[in-house]
Amino acid sequence: MPGRGIKRVAGLTVAAVVTWWLRLLAHSKKPPAEGHWRELDLRRDR
């Protein structure tokens, strides 16, 4: 039946988008800071 193919593609698409979104959520938890950004005083440093 042609409807089954469409349903399968739609299901796979939804699954892919949900998986992607879960990965995005996981990615939003950032690692700790690598260090401290000290402001450069360019005139003083010159």
């Binding site: 979104w21 950032k30 690598e34 260090g35 401290h36 950004w37 402001e39 450069l40 360019l42 010159r46």
Partner: protein, 360 residues
């Protein structure tokens, strides 16, 4: 000084126009773009203390040299560079007018060296790429190099925001960079690499691309063994979509890129909502590795601000330095002392930082 500002009605151009007026010393400012309506609106806002004129023309449809003549300098905030830069530089040389731009296209930058002799013959100075990168990136590398005896590796990383993008020219360039085979070849460069940038940008997943700084750096630092340029968007969902589109060939031609930008417009709010914690700021970081005596050392600097500020402030500072030099094709770090130029940019409210890594 009689100045012609190209791309004046874009996000970068508008910021550059206000920076030019603030800088002073203008005898006449001609603002140019394709559409007359927005130009006249901008002209109305800018005029007052300065003689502001408008010139609506298409850089690709007309001979730019005819429009450039009669000015002391052409400042270009128009893009994308792969379409416009070579044409504009040739026109500036023909019209014997100095030229400074925001070009960040590698292929266009590679074509510049062939125009150097002609530019020198016509006593013209050309700085193709005097914005954030190339521009601030070159200056920060020059500053870092002072603390090293020998520069061996340079890595430049940009964390940009699609909510802080300059407009269609910036977006087309970004797509072209990722999609037209410019993606740096090695697997190491193609794989995601998290980079730590100043707040509020923080960690960004970046990918290797080719970028014009390599040309100037290889000539300035003969011991340079490796150069990497990495770029990523703070909105990971947007970056994933752009990479997927680029991988499927949608970034490979101008027509496809324009189609992609139009087709993706309705999806943007959704993609932004899918990228929690993203922020509309742009940051650039440079890591310069080299030797001091017998020790190996890495110096890391960075800056964060709105892209329009990071691009336009160095652009206008560079423009104020080129007049009457006749230096041919050159780069921003050769116009003046790098630290002095960075201090001038800092005086405009841009804050630069040096990374002090947490000890292990």
């Amino acid at each position: 000084m009689k100045v012609l500002l190209l791309g004046a009605t874009g996000a970068m151009g508008r910021r550059a126009a206000t920076e030019l007026i603030r800088e002073g010393g203008l005898e006449r400012l001609t603002i140019a773009a394709r559409a007359r309506g927005p130009l006249e609106n901008l002209g109305g806002l800018l005029s007052g203390s300065v003689d502001v004129r408008v010139d609506d023309f298409d850089l690709l449809a007309e001979d730019p040299a005819a429009h450039f003549s009669g000015h002391d300098i052409v400042i270009s905030a128009a893009g994308p560079g792969y379409l416009l830069e070579e044409r504009c530089v040739k026109a500036a040389i023909d019209a014997r007018v100095d030229y400074v731009s925001l070009n960040d296209d590698t292929i266009a930058a590679e074509l510049m060296s062939a125009l150097d002799q002609e530019a020198r013959r016509n006593e013209v100075t050309v700085v193709s790429g005097a914005g954030m990168a190339p521009g601030i990136s070159n200056l920060l590398v020059a500053l870092a190099a002072r603390r090293l005896d020998e520069v061996q590796e340079v890595e430049i990383s940009v964390g940009a925001s699609s909510a802080d993008a300059g407009g269609p020219a910036t977006e087309l360039h970004f797509l072209a960079m990722l999609g037209a085979g410019d993606f740096a070849d090695s697997r190491e460069a193609r794989s995601p690499h998290p980079v730590y940038l100043p707040d509020p940008v923080g960690w960004v997943e970046t990918f290797g691309v080719d970028h014009p700084e390599e040309l100037a750096l290889r000539s300035a630092y003969p011991a340079l063994q490796a150069f990497r340029f990495r770029v990523g968007l703070v909105e990971k969902a947007v970056m994933d979509t752009v990479r997927a589109a680029a991988a499927s060939g949608l970034g490979s031609t101008e027509r496809r890129r324009r189609f992609l930008l139009t087709a993706a417009r309705p999806l943007r709010p959704l993609l932004h909502a899918m990228s929690p914690g993203s922020t509309p700021w742009t940051a650039i970081r440079i890591d310069v590795r080299g030797t001091t005596g017998s020790r190996t050392r890495t110096v890391t600097y960075a800056v964060v601000d709105r892209l329009a500020n990071l691009a336009s402030i160095p652009l206008i500072r560079a423009a104020s330095l080129v007049r009457g030099r006749g230096s041919g094709v050159t780069s921003i770090d050769r116009l003046s002392d790098a630290e002095e130029l960075l201090a001038d940019i800092a005086a405009r409210g841009i804050r630069f930082g040096e990374l002090e890594p947490h000890s292990l």
